[in-house]
Amino acid sequence: MAKVRHESAWYPLEPGETVLDGLLRQGVHVPHACRAGACQSCLMRATSGAVPEAAQVGLKDTLKARGYFLACACRPQAGTALEVAGASELRVPARIVDLESLSGDVVAVRLEVEAPFDYRAGQYVTVVREDGLARSYSLASLPREDRLELHVRLVPGGAMSGWFARDVRPGERVHVQGPAGDCFYVPGQPEAPLLLAGTGTGLAPLYGIVRDALEAGHTGPIHLFHGALEPRGLYLVDALRALAARHPNLHYRPLVLAGGDGDVEEGPLEARILASLPKRPVGWRAFLCGNPEAVLSLRKKLFLTGFSLKDIHADAFLPSTPRAGPVAGAA
């Protein structure tokens, strides 16, 4: 049996149980959402004892070195005694200063962080509400802008998105943890063709990345695909068209599955993207964000057409998983 110590009490784990499940089962509050190692909501720190390597996959080296790990991916071996603490020192207080409706079901949430906060455009943060509810959102803003901007899609019955859409008023306080993720532009190859593809609010990080790349002087072609089920699922269309008009190397292609017209193209996103690529996409870099099935499928197809794995940056927006849901890592 493994056991975990948290705030001076020891909690036994059942065989194969994760630290997250064991603590929640015994009434300890730990922020969490995806339970699949993707959102970093469940970040904790081991103050004594070693965590399995699998519990630190995807974390920055600086966090690993300080003992941080993902509680949902941490299954200590039998006999391990682990002492853990929450990640509160990684969170900074923030104030919601502005909410703006971008479409029928997407709202832009703007936050002012009350401490220095370094990030790269396109990374994501975890928003932690006063009561501990945690969800991850990609950043649509640029580091030089003084506010963080998130694009939140209202999910039916959604705890956090519903709160943003209905209850939050400017002035509300939350905590922000992060940033995380490697979906960001790296200067150095200004002529490389870039493929940016997102579904729904997968546009948020891409909106940051595309502006970041253009401001960094990227000269190679930038293909930005934004997919939605129908036209009202698209947003920032005018802003992106204006941006494309100012930058001839930016090719913006909004795409819907149904209800397209002369203004908006209709068709399946993945097929259109693949059809737009040259036969051998050498030197291309791709950024894929949004719906997990779409992102994972597209990543595989791009790899098969010749993209190198290291040139494909993908953030799958995994939803929260209730306790009885699939175990971490299952697919």
Binding site: R299, K300, F303, G306, L309, G329
Partner: protein
């Protein structure tokens, strides 16, 4: 005598080979269902372990590990046809990367030697 692994360029050569090999495997409908993984990086790391092993690089896998490591796949139907397909992709990968025929032959022999363990025979 130095290993094939060293003679074809060690770790950097494996890093180059792994994408070529993994792409072939994922593109082959006869076997790709064994290799689907949400985490492509993790799968690629395993492919690299495979390549390193058959090329005689640093590897700690025993025949027993090979048995245990592929048992769940045998239960899902892994058979000699699949084995031949993987070995075929291995051969093509090495040839595409310009590995001399003599060394390719050595790698093939190592791979063949793992057949019984991989198929849990």
């Amino acid at each position: 005598m130095s290993s094939v692994y060293e003679r074809i360029g060690g770790e950097p050569a494996m890093a180059a080979a792994v994408e070529v090999f993994y792409r072939k495997v994922l593109g082959d409908d006869r076997i790709n269902h064994f290799f689907e993984d949400v985490d492509m990086e993790r799968q690629a790391a395993k492919q690299k372990a495979f390549l390193t092993m058959v090329c005689g690089g640093p590897s700690n896998y025993s025949g027993k590990d090979m048995r245990a490591g592929h048992k769940h796949l045998v239960e899902r139907g892994l058979n000699a046809t699949h084995f031949d397909a993987v070995v075929g992709h291995l051969k093509e990968t090495l040839e595409e990367l310009g590995v001399p025929a003599e060394l390719v032959g050595q790698v093939m022999a190592v791979a063949e030697g793992a057949r019984a363990d991989v198929l849990n025979r």
